[in-house]
């Protein structure tokens, strides 16, 4: 029942071991919708979907957010895409579609469905003596994705920042339900193309769950290699980028070439530096031969040795530590309330790592101990990456020694089953990534929802920068390193 929906979702999410996964809507027919919440059991790796149809002729439902703040972006996104309003949402406004889009355009709404028109976007204003605003973006100074940051400052100190995204909106979710399902993987992978292995794996897991099949052991191992090499490359790159933002040119010149070395290993495995078009439902597109295996193994050993020499140059340098400690602190409570995931959450004391809970690649059988720090500041977020680099190197090295012997790709049936759900949950390099696929009675993809790890983490960044200097924003931002396209879809 729609009246109890919010309470049911909040209760389930607050049970021990459970967490809120995602919330969105789905068309039943041209006029009717259900609102659906995905809840995850981190103990057993199971999930539960709570659905409630919207009342006849109504485009509103009681908001979940007052009970469960982690749902606040999801409800706003559903508002933009379906034209439905969460009544009682504390900060109701558009999330993805702003003035560039017609106010009556709701890309996923049914043809004869009732909608609530989008109101003009209003930024939160901070009032008081000496408060001034600094608008930044959408286009930023470097090679980085667009987004608008509206800072309210007292002198040099940020009192609030409102992060308005949506500039990268390309209609990913709608395209995923229009494309033939065999080709949906290309779009799924491009949801945030810097996380190609993560997105492709989440897609593959979701589709395989629909088809009720499991990829062969060798494919699972090769997928895990791709996922961990992606994590490794991006974490190493991030350390270089963080050094760049604090003006430590030793770090910013030493680490990017190391990322390049990891991308070369990824190219040996997958054929491309960015691991594109490699993982697909049923397995992977190509096998790894003995020469390739040995080359990756040797390259990795060399890399590990170099990292061991270079990382102390960052983490044992007092100038670097002083620059990062206490900057952009995010408390464990707020990180948990807003459903933060990945390294950013683990730097604020969270112990959640999807690799320990949900089936993807060789996980959760091969269950790494999650890195965990309590500091919640830019330093902790950097240290987490260093910890995870070590874990990933160990995982890749171990897997290369024990690659199972089996097929690497299965042939798939021609059709997806009718009216089924598949959910792929992957610990991508930025954290828990969810692909949630529902088919209709004809066996077509009726709804394809993606929750990028950045989706909730953007709120964390907004909170973490409060009370910090404007000049520290780039460091805070880089220490989170969130995806704009993954959020905007």
């Amino acid at each position: 029942m729609i009246e109890n929906f919010a309470m049911d979702v909040a209760q389930q999410a607050k049970l021990p071991g459970w967490r809120f996964g995602h919330l969105t809507a789905r068309n039943l027919d041209a006029a009717h919708l259900v609102i659906e919440a995905l809840l995850l059991d981190t103990n057993s790796g199971a999930y539960r979907i709570i659905s409630a149809p919207l009342a006849e002729g109504s485009a509103t439902y009681p908001s979940v957010t007052p009970l469960l703040p982690a749902a606040h972006h999801a409800e706003r996104a559903a508002g933009d895409m379906f034209g439905i309003k969460a009544m009682g949402h504390p900060r109701w406004k558009s999330l993805l579609l702003h003035e560039a889009w017609p106010p009556e355009l709701f890309p996923l709404a049914g043809a004869s469905q009732v909608t609530v028109p989008r109101a003009p976007y209003r930024f939160l204003e901070v009032h008081g003596e000496g408060i001034h605003e600094i608008p930044v973006g959408p286009i930023h100074a470097g090679i980085i994705e667009p987004g608008h940051f509206r800072f309210s400052c007292l002198g040099e100190v940020i009192t609030n920042v409102e992060i308005r995204l949506g500039y990268q909106h390309r209609g990913v979710e709608k395209r995923l339900s229009l494309a033939p399902w065999q080709q949906a993987r290309f779009i799924a992978e491009s949801a945030s193309s810097d996380t190609a292995a993560g997105n492709a794996l989440a897609h593959a897991v979701a589709i395989e769950q629909l088809l009720q099949l499991t990829a062969p052991p060798r494919a699972q191992a090769l997928r895990t290699l791709a996922l961990e090499l992606e994590r490794l490359a991006n974490h190493v790159g991030d350390i270089g980028a963080i050094c760049g933002d604090i003006g430590y040119s030793v770090g910013s010149s030493l680490f990017p070439p190391l990322r390049g070395a990891i991308l070369a290993l990824a190219q040996l495995l997958t054929g491309t530096r960015r691991q594109r078009y490699y993982i697909l439902p049923g397995g992977v597109v190509r096998d790894l031969d003995e020469t390739g295996r040995r080359a990756i193994k040797n390259g990795l050993a060399e890399l590990a040795a170099t990292l061991q020499k270079h990382i102390p140059l960052v983490l044992e340098n007092h100038a670097v530590l002083e620059r990062m400690v206490d900057v952009g602190r995010l408390s464990a409570e707020l990180a948990a309330d807003f459903g933060m995931v990945g390294p950013a959450a683990r730097a604020s004391g969270s112990g959640y790592d999807a690799r320990r809970a949900f089936a993807h690649g060789c996980y959760p059988a091969l269950s790494p101990t999650p890195a965990r720090r309590e500091g919640g500041d830019a330093l902790a977020r950097t240290q987490i990456r260093v910890d995870e680099i070590a874990t990933s190197i160990a995982i890749v090295d171990g897997l290369l020694d024990a690659l199972p012997d089996s097929l690497y790709r299965l042939d798939l049936p021609k059709c997806l089953p009718a009216a089924q759900v598949g959910v792929g949950i992957v610990e991508a390099w930025r954290g828990e990534l969810i692909h949630w696929v529902t088919t209709n009675d004809a066996g077509e993809i009726a709804r394809y929802a993606i929750k990028d790890p950045s989706f909730n983490n953007w709120t964390g960044l907004g909170i973490a920068v409060r009370g910090n200097l404007v000049a520290d924003f780039p460091l805070c931002n880089k220490s989170f390193n969130l995806s704009y396209s993954g959020n905007d879809l």
């Binding site: 355009l105 959408p138 286009i139 090679i143 491009s190 390049g260 190219q267």
Partner: protein, 254 residues
């Protein structure tokens, strides 16, 4: 603690000396079309996720035209072609000056390459980058600035404002919300100015072309001086595109 300066020296020179090395054998690049007789079976076109392949017939038989401006480089067509008509291309000199040159066919190429010229930016160029939804291309562009590719050795600099930029480099498919910011950025640049489209999404919208987001790339919005296909392109491909736009001898083979 180790001396950071010794650490910097210990890496030696890591910058790639040979320009535009071919891709290694186990790597996949863009597909190329050979003049091997095509049976017109149509398997390649059927598996292409971006409809980049058009089949036809002429007096000599079946024709196949592959538009790299729409091609992701996923290699599905290469795997589908049993006759060796479409093969992987190992070159990293993949950029072109005109949109028409991006179309590869199994007939002699009729697209006339724009004449290589000694452009006014051939010694140095300052580039403003605008990303519109392809962060893998952004990362490959960032890679171009590292010590391995060393973009700066060609006189190429990435700058933080359109006011002192000579070229606008666009990645991503330019969805509806980025159209106006992009046009404003271009308007803020002093003439003469160039536009470089990096990545298949920037050229044609790629996977995102059509439908409500109107993400059809930059080609129809601004005059593009160089096209770099691929999703994402290899860093050498990106450098090739910038050098072509500059009229730099290293890119144009002058």
């Amino acid at each position: 603690m180790r001396n950071p300066f010794l650490a910097l020296l210990s890496t030696g020179i890591i910058t790639q000396k040979g320009l535009f090395p071919e891709l290694p054998l186990d790597a996949t690049g863009m597909p190329a079309v050979t003049d091997t007789p095509c049976t017109g079976c149509g398997r390649c076109a059927a598996v292409c996720p971006t409809l980049a392949i058009t089949l036809g017939t002429d007096a000599q038989g079946s024709t196949v035209a592959l538009d790299r401006g729409r091609c992701l480089g996923c290699q599905e067509c290469v795997r589908a072609c049993a006759h060796g008509v479409i093969i992987p291309d190992r070159t990293t000199r993949i950029a072109t000056r005109t949109r028409a040159e991006l179309v590869c066919t199994n007939r002699p190429n009729t697209a006339v390459p724009a004449p290589a010229k000694d452009g006014m930016f051939h010694r140095s160029i300052h580039i403003r980058v605008v990303s519109t939804g392809d962060n893998a291309a952004d990362l490959e562009l960032t890679a171009c600035t590292n010590a391995i590719f060393d973009l700066a050795r060609f006189g190429i600099n990435i700058v933080a404002s359109p006011r002192y930029a000579d070229a606008l480099l666009v990645t991503g498919p330019v969805g509806r919300a980025m159209r106006e910011p992009l046009l404003r950025c271009y308007a803020a640049m002093a003439a003469p100015r160039l536009v470089i489209a990096v990545g298949t999404a920037a050229i044609s919208g790629g996977l995102f072309a059509g439908d409500y987001s109107e993400a059809n790339g930059v080609t129809d919005i601004l005059p593009v001086a160089a096209f770099v296909p691929g999703d994402p392109p290899n860093p050498w491909g990106i450098i090739h595109g910038i050098l072509l736009a500059m009229g730099h001898p290293a890119g144009c083979g002058l």
